[in-house]
């Protein structure tokens, strides 16, 4: 089996369950890792096939990508409380870039469906916390979905979830331009992402993660996305833009139902922020009625 930069592949890299990147498992220093080969950009190694200008142009793209992603991955690792999968390595080997992450022994989705409500609550709280940390550090994940959460059983028997796949992450201060195609799963797409793609104007923020997390939480609790008129719309964001309010199932505990409802707000500014969500789950709100951040302030009464 091949070796890539000291990582001995355990399986040949494949695209199974992946949107065109190749991945597999590898070993180094007696540890197993998840390894992913990225398909864009590609570093040109056949120097005699390209003229100097084309070669320089392509290598400059690679250098920019490398600098950008090295900083991004470092910041993701720094944001992690253990619920973001750890990025162990990022390097170029020949013409391709590779990401190496810790290997997580995940349980199947079938098993996830059977976990206790207590586990579900703990997983959702942990996801609110770890994505909130990512947001505090200025990073938007931009591809939150069930497939990107690995559920694992702790030695105690409890189940927890880890966020994976940082391919679509961006700095909130440098969002994708409106004419760029936004990758990400349509089932979890926020309404403003679609509006930006359709109108080629506007911007997206951390609020897109909150919307996706609302859909995901609904799936964790009920096994399905929130309700909408499926005879009119294919995806939740279409229903929201069509004027529907997504229906959060009464099966979900009250506190979480209200939270999910606020996560699924159509207007991003009205969507709950994860720092507020976390505070609410701890039993205290830092947000006043009028929606501003409050520190030692209460609404003013009559004089």
């Amino acid at each position: 089996m091949r070796e890539i930069n000291g990582y001995q592949l355990e399986t040949e890299l494949k695209t199974t369950n992946s949107g065109f990147s190749k991945w597999g498992f590898a070993r180094k220093n007696n540890r197993s890792y998840f390894i992913k080969e990225l398909i864009d950009p590609v570093y040109p190694v056949y120097e005699d096939l390209l003229d100097p200008a084309t070669l320089a142009h392509k290598r400059k793209i690679c250098q920019m990508f490398e600098d950008h992603n090295r900083l991004l991955y470092q910041c993701i690792n720094n944001s992690s409380d253990g619920n973001l999968v750890h990025i162990e390595d990022f390097f170029r080997h020949g013409s391709h870039y590779y990401m190496v992450m810790e290997k997580v022994d995940a349980i199947s989705l079938e098993e996830v469906r059977r976990i206790t409500n207590e586990d579900k609550l703990r997983i959702c709280k942990a996801l609110v916390h770890c994505l909130g940390k990512l947001h505090q550090n200025g990073i938007v994940h931009a591809d939150i979905k069930l497939d990107n959460i690995l559920f694992r059983r702790l030695p105690s028997g409890k189940v927890t979830g880890k966020v994976i796949d940082f391919d679509n992450c961006f700095w909130e201060k440098q969002p994708p331009s409106p004419d760029e195609e936004i990758h990400g799963d349509l089932v979890y797409m926020a309404p403003e992402t679609f509006v930006m793609m359709q109108m080629e104007e506007g911007t997206i923020t951390r609020a897109i993660d909150v919307f996706a997390l609302g859909i995901l939480f609904h799936q964790i609790f009920t096994g399905r996305p929130p309700g909408f008129d499926a005879s009119k719309f294919d995806y939740p964001f279409e229903a929201v833009l069509g004027g529907e309010r997504l229906i959060v199932s009464p099966e979900i505990p009250d506190e979480w139902r209200q939270l999910i409802d606020r996560m699924l707000a159509g207007i991003p500014e009205k969507r709950i922020d994860l720092s507020e969500a976390e505070a609410l789950l701890r039993g205290k709100s830092t947000k006043t009625e009028y929606g501003g951040q409050a520190a030692y302030l209460i609404p003013a009464g009559d004089l």
Binding site: L50, T54, I61, S95, E181, M189, D234, E238
Partner: protein, 225 residues
């Protein structure tokens, strides 16, 4: 503003129809014909929808050795024109080829210059190449009477046609994918090591498209949506 997401997929199948492809061509044709149904079935399973799919076919051989070195079709709308598409695919016969390298790069040049759809909120423009042979350098046969005008002068120019994140003359960078079912030989391996958005499944002469590989391709297309 229309509130519906429209997802349009254009595919261009480049099929090597030289004699050596004889043992595998029927499998390639079978895969090509079932592609639409397999992709839509997988999309439904993932609760996603595909609004519009078109497929065109490029059949390539060798400009030096063959009477019909390059044949192209227009895009067929699927499923509406499935009958015509199937007839087109079924008309392909493996013959000719001359020496072992074929003219796959010229086929890619035609594929890149396809009349890709500009409609749809999301688009995928996918080129799939099936071959068991290496390729000549582009322009190897440029003295031949049937060699077309307007081909890239060299690999450098063809590379520019494919483009990158900052340069997309003919095909949108975010939309494009190139799937190679080709041997790890010139110039396929040079493409894999130079162009972005390429997935290469190395093939062995005389062996068909393995079932797992075909499923991987269908899966990859559905997962990239």
């Amino acid at each position: 503003m229309a509130l519906k997401m429209t997802y349009n997929v254009d595919m261009c199948f480049c099929i090597d129809a030289t004699g050596s492809m004889g043992p595998v061509i029927s499998k390639v044709k079978e895969n090509a014909i079932s592609f639409y149904q397999d992709v839509t079935r997988e999309m439904e399973r993932k609760q996603k929808s595909l609004d519009h799919m078109r497929v065109r076919v490029i059949v390539f051989r060798d400009y030096v050795a063959d009477e019909e070195p390059m044949m192209v079709s227009r895009f067929f709308d699927l499923p509406a024109q499935a009958v015509q598409f199937e007839a087109c695919i079924n008309s392909i016969e493996a013959n000719g080829g001359g020496d072992e390298p074929e003219d796959g790069l010229e086929a890619l040049a035609y594929a890149i210059r396809s009349d890709w759809t500009k409609e749809g909120t999301k688009r995928r423009n996918i080129i799939v190449v099936w071959t068991d042979a290496s390729t000549h350098a582009i322009g190897y046969a440029k003295e031949q009477p049937k060699y077309p005008k307007g081909m890239p002068a060299d690999f450098n120019e063809l590379t520019k046609w494919w483009g990158d994140s900052q340069m997309e003359p003919y095909i949108k960078n975010a939309a494009k994918r190139l799937v190679l079912f080709a041997p790890d030989a010139p110039y396929w391996k040079q493409i894999t090591s130079t162009w972005n958005n390429v997935i290469h499944y190395p093939s062995t002469a005389g062996k068909g498209l393995q079932e797992y590989t075909y499923k991987e391709i269908v899966d990859a297309i559905c997962n990239s949506i």
